[in-house]
Structure formats: C-alpha cells, structure tokens
C-alpha cells in the first residue's frame, strides 16, 4: 500500500519537474526552430513548437552577411578573450601573493578588498573615470573594466591555500623564486579553478550589455548584446534592412524580421552553449564536493 502511494507521488513529482523543465526548454528550442525555419513558412510556427517549418539556413546567411553584426560579434569576441585572459592572470597572481603567510600588510589589504566588494560607487563616477582615462568608445574600456572580481579572487585564494606547503618549500630549496613558484607550480596545479573561474569571467564578459552600451558609443565599437537590445527591445530594424536588400536576388520574396532576430539571438547563445558542458563538468562538481563542507 505504501509502496503504491510512493509511486503515485513520485509520478506527480516527475510530472511537475518535467513541466518546469519544459517551460525552460521549449522557449529556447522554439527560438532555434524559428531561426531555422523558411521565411515563407515561419508564420505557421507556433510558440510551443520545437521543430522548424521548412528547414532553411537563409536567416543565418543574411545575418552573417551583415557587416554591422559581424563587426559586433568580433568586438564581443575580442573583449571576451582578451578580458578573460587578463582577468585570469591578474586574479591568480594576486591570489598567490595574498596567500603568502608572511606577507606584511595582508590584513589591511583583505579589509580593503571586502570594502570594495560591497561599496558600489555607481555609474556616474565610473563613467567619469573612463572619460578621464580617454577610454570612452574604446574596446579596452570594456577589457579593463571589472578585470578582477573580488569574489573569484577569494575563491582562487582558498584553492591556492590547499596546495601543500612542502611542495613549494622543496622548490624554494632548489632555488626557485616567487615568479618560478607561481608559473611552474601554482599555475599548473590550478588548472581546474582556472577553468571554472575563467568560464565565469568569459560568460560575464560575453553577456555584459549595460556598461558596453554606455562606454562604447559608435557603431564600429558596438558589441553583440547592445545590437541585440536594439533589435529586441527598441525594435530598431534599420541595421537589418541593408541585409534584406542583399538578399533580393536569392529568390525569396520577403524575410521575416522575427526569424532574423531569432538567428541573431542564437548566434549570441552559441559561445555560451559551447562553454556550458565545461561549466557543468567542473563547477557543479566543485559545488557538490566542496559546498557540502560549508
């Protein structure tokens, strides 16, 4: 009797969970379907459908022939790659220094970092600083802005603290200085946290939209998220019209703006979907193993 009761409640739970999952899954897949549908049939595609109507890559072709979109993708990639590498280097380097036990001034430095973490000066003073540095409308503003995340720095410190002292001592006796200890021992041993934190830095930089929209003003320096906002929120299609002209001679009477938009969103999601398996593998495992002790 109790056995049957459990299966009934379990079935109910499974249904509930499936429903929640579908509510996340269907809208995303529907967008993919929309971007892959043929322009003449896309109006038949309902919001809950997951398969494209009349498969066609024409939307992606149009989007990727648009120099403005390509430019924005390249800018986003530049900021993401350069920014993530810089972030990782500075974060690990300072984490190594801040975990040295005899370091004079460590406590005030840590207090300073906590203060910085919780006190937000806000957008106007930040804008003024970028302006004073002459970095307005310069991609480097977005590379340098928020290079070190204090929270990730602390996570990195906790990891480096786990490296056995004996290992570092042995290298020291062999004559290694701090630079060698850092590059030859700490960095190679930190591959997993580097990958995890790197993912988070990369995702944050790829997704950054508000600060990019403020610091980068010209069309040449726009990034994908800002351009997307123009399409989606402001419904400004001017950037798309040129592309539609380009396709006049391809035999398709009219392009569907909705599916062009969907194709652009899909392009913005591709790097995330590529990084996602690595995030799942390392981060969730890390939380499962490490979070328990907290």
């Amino acid at each position: 009797m109790t056995g049957k009761k459990i299966t009934v409640s379990k079935t109910f739970l499974a249904l509930l969970l499936s429903l929640m999952t579908l509510s996340m899954f269907v809208p995303i897949v529907n967008l993919f379907a929309k971007s892959l549908s043929h322009p003449n049939q896309v109006h038949l595609l309902r919001g809950y459908e997951v398969l494209p109507r009349g498969f066609s890559l024409i939307n992606f072709e149009v989007v990727l022939h648009n120099p403005i979109i390509v430019r924005a993708v390249m800018n986003s990639l530049f900021i993401t790659v350069t920014g993530t590498l810089l972030s990782l280097l500075f974060t690990t380097m300072s984490a190594y220094v801040l975990t040295r036990k005899k370091l004079v001034g460590k406590t005030p430095l840590m207090v300073f970092l906590i203060v910085i973490m919780i006190f937000e000066p806000g957008i106007v003073p930040e804008y003024m600083v970028i302006k004073s540095l002459g970095l307005l409308d310069n991609l480097w503003a977005m590379v340098l802005y928020r290079t070190i995340n204090v929270f990730y720095l602390i996570i990195m410190m906790r990891f480096i603290e786990e490296i056995p002292d004996s290992l570092l001592e042995a290298a020291k006796i062999d004559g290694a200085g701090h630079v060698k200890l850092f590059t030859r021992i700490v960095l190679p041993l930190s591959r997993i946290p580097l990958l995890t934190i790197g993912m988070f830095y990369a995702v944050a930089r790829w997704n950054e939209f508000f600060k990019s929209s403020i610091f980068l003003s010209s069309r040449d320096h726009t990034v994908l998220q800002v351009l997307l906002r123009q399409f989606i929120v402001e419904r400004d299609t001017t950037a798309m019209i040129d592309a539609a002209e380009l396709l006049k001679n391809s035999g398709i009477a009219q392009l569907d703006f909705g599916s062009l938009k969907a194709a652009t969103i899909v392009i913005a999601m591709i790097p995330i979907l590529m990084l996602y398996p690595i995030i799942l593998k390392y981060y969730t495992k890390g939380v499962m193993d490490g979070g328990v002790k907290e």
């Binding site: 969970l17 929640m20 003073p125 804008y127 003024m128 600083v129 602390i154 997704n207 979070g291």
Partner: protein
C-alpha cells in the same frame, strides 16, 4: 617563542619587518597590476562620488553645495515612487523566488540516481548563463499575444490573450517570473549539495525507528538546509536595493516605465541621459550607503543565526 619576541627591542622588530618586506619585494611587484586596477577602477570612482556635494561644471572648479542635491532628491515626488518600486519589486522577488530553489532541490532529491535528474539539471541551469537581452528576446516570444506559448495556452482554455509586457500590473510579475526562470535552477545547486551531503546512515536509522518520508524531510533534510537557507536569505535581503538593472532595462517600455522604474534605472536616466551628474550621484550615494548598511547588518544577523557570515 613568545618570550623571545617580548624581550627583543622594538628597533629590531621594526627592522625585521622591513627585512621581510624587502625579501618579498617580488611579491609586491606581482601585486602591482591588482593595486593599480583597484585604485583606478574602484577607489577613484569612490573619490568621484564627492560630486554629490558639488555642482558639476565641465570647465573650472566645481562649487561645493553641501546637501543641496540630497534635499532636492528627497523633495522630488518621483523619488519616493522610485524607492517604492525598488522595494516592491525586490520584496516580491525575495519572497516569491526564495522557496523555489529549495523546493526544486527537494524534488530532485527524490530522483537521486536517474538519468531524469541529470536531464532536468542540464536544462534548469542553462538560463543562468544567458544575458538579460537574450532572455528578454526569449520571453517576448514566449509572452507574445499573437503567437506566444503562454497566450496559446490561454486561448486553449478559452481565455482572451493578454499582453503582459505592456500592462502596468502584470509587468512586475513578468520580472519576478523571468528572474525565477533564470536563476531558480542554478540557485538550487547549493541546497541540492547540502542534501547530498547528509550522511545516509541518518536515513537508515530513522527508517529503523519507523519514520516515513515526511518525517525524513522535516526532521532530517530541512534542518540540514537551515544554514544555506539563512545565509542565502540574509544575503538577498542585503541586496534589496538592487531590483535588477539589466533585467529592467530590457523589459521596460513606455507604457510600464512608471511601475518598474527603480533607483538604478533612475540614476542611469537622469545621470547619463540627462547629464545631471551631481543629482544622479547623490541618488546613487544614498542607495550605496543604505546598501552597505543592509549588507553589513544582514552579515552579522547571519553570523548570529548560523555562526557563519555571508563571507
């Protein structure tokens, strides 16, 4: 050891300190990029907040005006509406969203070892990594009055379609729902990890004593979730002044702006769009000070309740 130190003259102690600094000089050099970064991108803007007490001029010296901008701020009727919106949206998110990851983790726990659990997790964590622009794009389609899945559902049960995005009443619920959609799965990780960390022998012992599943949940699992629950709840209270800038900027439109305009969007609008730098900085300073007070006090409350702080 202690005796040696106390008998050592102060001079020698001082010089050994400098000796330590000198022998660690490479370390300080390695810290230079970080120090430079924090000085330029964090300390300098904090110094720049003095603009709240000065009249901003492009050329020449700024004139000190004391609390003028704060007085103006508090006498503006818009500002009280902004504060109200911020608190309402934050409170809605806090109260409605908080239990969802916990329930989600509890439900997942019933399917511990299956492929089903892994599939659910893979899908549920994904939205956390999408930008608000992309999420807005997905939700605009999802809620579209003509083709969106939600309105298809409404039509199917015989209700008229509704444009949730342009309705002042429903837009706040859209903010709450999309926030839950984005973060509930991801936030459940910490609770799920806590459940997985419970020693299985506790369950066995309870079963031997005649406990049923309900007893297991209320007497064993929930007590184990107490610490993460308190920590995360207090942390969220600490950030109540942040109602979600990126999200609101992407979900807003002229017809709903008055019901979802929060401090952050207000500062952005009057500061960077209308160039009223001093006024915007004053609004932001007010927000930051309240924010710090909230974060610090919730940190200490959390510490009291769980003997662990938020950091």
């Amino acid at each position: 050891m202690k005796a040696v130190r106390t008998t050592a003259p102060a001079q020698i102690r001082g010089s050994s300190r400098w000796k330590q600094v000198w022998s660690d000089k490479v370390l300080y050099v390695m810290l230079v990029p970080a120090i430079a970064y924090f000085a330029i991108f964090h300390v300098w803007p904090i110094y720049g907040m003095k603009l709240a007490f000065y009249d901003y001029r492009i050329l020449g010296d700024h004139e000190y005006v004391g609390l003028k901008y704060f007085r103006e701020l508090f006498s503006t009727p818009i500002f009280s509406n902004i504060i109200k919106n911020t608190l309402i949206i934050s409170a809605m998110k806090l109260i409605i969203i908080f239990p969802i990851p916990i329930l989600f983790a509890l439900m997942l726990n019933e399917f511990r070892n299956g492929v089903f659990r892994k599939m659910v997790q893979v899908v549920a964590y994904l939205p956390h990594f999408l930008s608000w622009v992309v999420i807005a794009g997905i939700w605009f389609e999802f809620l579209s009055p003509s083709t969106g899945a939600v309105n298809e559902g409404l039509k199917a049960i015989g209700l008229p379609p509704h444009d949730f995005l342009t309705d002042k009443e429903s837009i706040r619920w859209v903010l709450v729902a999309s926030e839950a959609w984005r973060s509930a799965g991801w936030d459940s990780i910490i609770f799920f990890a806590a459940i997985m960390g419970i020693n299985p022998s506790l369950y066995e012992a309870a079963y031997v004593d005649g406990a049923n599943r309900w007893h297991i949940m209320t007497r064993i699992i929930l007590p184990h979730l107490y610490i993460p629950m308190v920590t995360i709840f207090t942390l969220n209270v600490g950030f109540i002044m942040n109602a979600g800038l990126d999200q609101i900027l992407n979900f807003t439109n002229d017809s709903v702006n008055s019901s979802i305009d929060v401090i952050d969007t207000y500062v952005y609008r009057i500061g960077l769009i209308n160039s009223q730098y001093s006024f915007a900085t004053a609004a932001n300073l007010f927000k930051s000070v309240i924010g710090v007070i909230l974060v610090l006090s919730t940190h200490f409350i959390s510490k009291k309740l769980t003997s662990k702080g938020a950091w």
